[in-house]
Structure formats: C-alpha cells, structure tokens
C-alpha cells in the first residue's frame, strides 16, 4: 500500500492528518474566544459538545488523527535518521532560508504532546470524560478561571503555545507542498499563509490565557487587599 511503503505516501498521510488537526485547532481556538466574549455562551458550547454522539465521534476521530500523525512522525524520523548514514558531518552549517522549525519538528512535536497530556488532565478529564462516565461535568468557565489564574500553568501553557506556533508555521505550508499545491509563485504565498494561520490560532489561544490570568490575579489582589 503506497501510504505505508512509499516516501511520498507516508508524507501524504502526515500532511492530511496534520492539516485536519490544524483545522481542529482553528475551531478550538475560536470556541475558546467565546469565553472572553460571554461566559454563558462558552458554557453553552461546553454543554453542546458534552457526551453527545457527534462530540464523541469527533473526539474519536481526533484521537485517531493524532495517533496516526504521531506514529508516522516516529516512523519517518527513524527512516530518515538511518538514511543519513552512520557517519555524521563534523561541521554542519545551516543553509540559507532553512527554517529552524523545519529542522526541529519532532522536538516541537514532543513539547506539543506533553502540553496536550497536561491539557487533557486539566480540562478534558474533568469535562467530557466525567460526562462519559455518567457524572456531572465541571463548569467550563470556572475551570478556565481556576487553571489560568495559576502562574505555573500560565507559563507552561504559554510555552506550549510557542512550540505550537513554530510547529504550525512549518507544518501548514509543508502539508500544502507535500500535497503538491505549490509552484514557484505560490511557494512564498503558502509560507505567508502558513504564518498568518499559525499566528491567528496561537493568538486566539493566548488571548484567553492572558485574559483569565489577568482577571484571576487582579481579583486575587483585590480580595487580599480587602
């Protein structure tokens, strides 16, 4: 099957799963933004996406995409490492126009995976998981307020978002290039589009984090003063 045993096939799987995950991030980030606009609205979305069948199907689909993306990432990294040969260059210098992110996608992926685990424990386990198990889910907005008011969580999430931004800036245009949607004119354009989408996604996530970190800590300060 060409999706397993040809290099372009493997990259094809990588780009399709990656692109789908990027679309999910775009959706997730827009959903989060509601938490700034209206707390009730955000809780309504949480309820709407609880343990309903469509939310469960979506979650399973996402888990499948993420697992395939990660397994392929490891497989590709191992094959590529071997292809490099046993001896390594003693002196290597980065070539012109080679992005740092493109050389470190696996490392960035590890950071993202670590952040994802923390995120699932922080939020998903207390919201969708408990609902699947039949209990009452936590209040979404309250959970955000609690988590993002802690300075250590804020820092970890911020680092996570930075890694995500780097991963996306390379990942999005790279996916398009792998699918063949590129030529001499469009290559600079898809790189630009990639940067814009990555920045929009990450800024939306960061906005919610900063908003609730500031809100949480200012409230604390005033409460202490009182």
């Amino acid at each position: 099957m060409w999706l397993f045993n040809s290099s372009v096939g493997r990259k094809f799987v990588m780009s399709i799963t990656g692109a789908c995950l990027a679309f999910f991030l775009l959706f997730h980030a827009s959903m989060n933004l509601v938490a700034i606009i209206s707390e009730e609205g955000y809780n309504m979305i949480c309820e709407f996406l609880g343990a309903n069948w469509y939310a469960l199907v979506g979650t399973l689909g996402l888990a499948f995409l993420a697992v395939v993306h990660i397994i392929y990432a490891f497989a590709l990294s191992i094959i590529n490492y071997r292809a490099r040969g046993r001896e390594r260059y003693a002196v290597s210098d980065r070539s012109n126009g080679v992005e740092w992110a493109s050389m470190n996608m696996l490392v960035l992926g590890f950071i993202i995976l670590g952040g994802l685990c923390l995120h699932l424990v922080n939020f998903w386990a207390k919201m969708q998981l408990v609902e699947i198990l039949g209990s009452e889910p936590a209040n979404g907005v309250e959970l955000i307020k609690y988590t993002f008011s802690k300075w250590y969580f804020a820092i970890i999430y911020l680092l996570w978002f930075v890694a995500l931004w780097y991963h996306l800036t390379h990942g999005i245009w790279s996916a398009m290039q792998t699918l063949g949607w590129s030529n001499n004119i469009w290559l600079p354009r898809i790189k630009c589009i990639s940067n814009i989408i990555a920045t929009i996604i990450v800024l939306m996530f960061v906005a919610v984090l900063v908003w609730y970190f500031v809100a949480g800590n200012c409230c604390c300060a005033s409460a202490c003063a009182a």
């Binding site: 094809f12 292809a83 003693a90 002196v91 070539s95 792998t178 949607w181 290559l187």
Partner: protein, 251 residues
C-alpha cells in the same frame, strides 16, 4: 600581484568502504587566491606524493561545473560556501589567510564512501535507469516546431534539466532524501508533451527506486534547493508529489 594565503586543511581519510575513517590535518602555504579549490587539492596531493604519502582521493572531471562529478562537503556546505557553484567552480579567494577548511565526503546511507572523499553515487544512475527517460521510437527527426510548446513550460523544463546529478541535495538533506534530484528529473520530462505520455509510470518507477535504495523522506526543510549548484527550485518537489499522488489515485 598575486595574493597568497596559508590554510589548514582537515580532510576525511578513509582507506576503503568498510574501514573506519578519520580526519587528518594538513598545512598548505602560499596558495594563490586565484587558484580553484580543486587546484589547491592538486597542490596538496603533489606535496603528499613528494613526501611518499598516499594522495587524497576525490572525484572531479570537467572542472567547469557541468559534469556533476565533483562533490566535497566543505565547511558544512555541499560544494562549499559559495552559492550556485560546484566545488570545481569554487575559488580560494572565498577563504582567508589562516582559515581551517574542513573537507568531508557526501554522507548519506545511499552514497557509501569508496575512498577518502570519493563516494559511490551509482544510486542516482539506478534511479535514472528506473524511468528517467522517454521511450520513443527514434525515426526521422521531426520539425523543431512540429509540437508547439509554450515558452514558460520550455523554460521551466530547462531549469529542471539543469540538474547535473551531483548529489548535493541528498548530501545537504538532514533526512538523506534525494527528492530534489528525482523531482528535477521527473519535472523536466513531465513538463513537455513528449514526456507527459509516460509521466505516471515514470514517477512511480523513479520514486519506488529512490525509496528502495535507502534515501530518506522529504520534510520540506529546503536545504537541498538552497545548496543546489544549479538552483533547481523547491517547487519541483511539489510537482513530483503532485504527479505521484495523482498517479496513485488513478490506479
């Protein structure tokens, strides 16, 4: 007046494919900055021969940047620090007095070292033999303009045809991937009507051979195109991907 420089060379020496290699340091004095890099290596070899030592083995042929024979990974760059030139077109004026220059062979699983700085690049020939041609019945020569080809396509095909198969792309790639080479060879034919007929069969055969020979998977890092002495563009790889994915979906 000729300007001369003194340089220290750190050169990879390896007696054979299975032998463990190592770096050896040589000092060369009074090298003219007008001499080419390969002439500098010739001077080193003369010096080694006069000292009754084994000369350094390296590939070279036309010495005018068209045969694709010279290789050498110089100071962390295939074909040295200059852009858009092959090693034979690199001159000593690119270096300074007192510089240490590290010279290594291409390092890739599919390009095993034969000796010192010479590697076996037959893998590229095998990829070409797998499908890098047009199977035509060579009859009488048709009129040059019998098949009209837009200038844009002809130019782009020519840009891809400029690939000399030197192996710098695979040598520069952190994944040891030969995608830029295969992409150039697939593109130059796929862009023209004569080559389009067999495009699907060709791309599958050449890519299959590339994977079989142990080259890596492209991660769109772009080092290949940046280091390519003939400036084959990265968009060629997108065309290769497109041709391959379309061919597979048609199957």
């Amino acid at each position: 007046m000729d300007k001369t420089i003194n340089v220290t060379l750190k050169i990879w020496r390896q007696a054979g494919p299975k032998v463990k290699g190592h770096f050896e340091t040589y000092k060369l004095d009074n090298i003219s900055t007008d001499s080419s890099f390969l002439e500098m290596l010739d001077i080193l070899n003369e010096q080694l021969i006069s000292e009754k030592k084994e000369p350094v083995v390296f590939d070279h042929d036309c010495r005018e940047g068209i045969c694709g024979m010279c290789s050498l990974y110089i100071n962390g760059h295939p074909h040295g620090p200059d852009s858009a030139v092959t090693t034979c077109q690199l001159h000593m004026r690119r270096f300074h007095d007192g510089d240490t220059i590290t010279v290594e062979p291409w390092r890739s699983n599919a390009f095993p070292v034969i000796r010192d700085l010479m590697v076996d690049r037959r893998a590229y020939d095998k990829i070409m033999q797998a499908g890098g041609f047009v199977s035509v019945n060579t009859g009488g020569v048709p009129d040059a303009n019998a098949i009209p080809i837009p200038k844009k396509d002809a130019d782009e095909a020519m840009d891809n045809a400029s690939c000399i198969g030197c192996g710098a792309c695979a040598a520069a790639c952190k994944n040891g991937s030969a995608m830029l080479f295969v992409a150039a060879k697939v593109s130059q034919l796929a862009l023209l009507p004569q080559g389009k007929v067999e495009a699907a069969r060709r791309v599958k055969a050449m890519l299959g051979k590339m994977d079989e020979l142990g080259f890596g998977n492209c991660t769109n890092t772009g080092a290949c195109a940046a280091e390519c002495p003939k400036c084959v563009p990265l968009s060629a790889i997108a065309r290769l991907n497109r041709e391959f994915i379309c061919a597979k979906f048609k199957d």
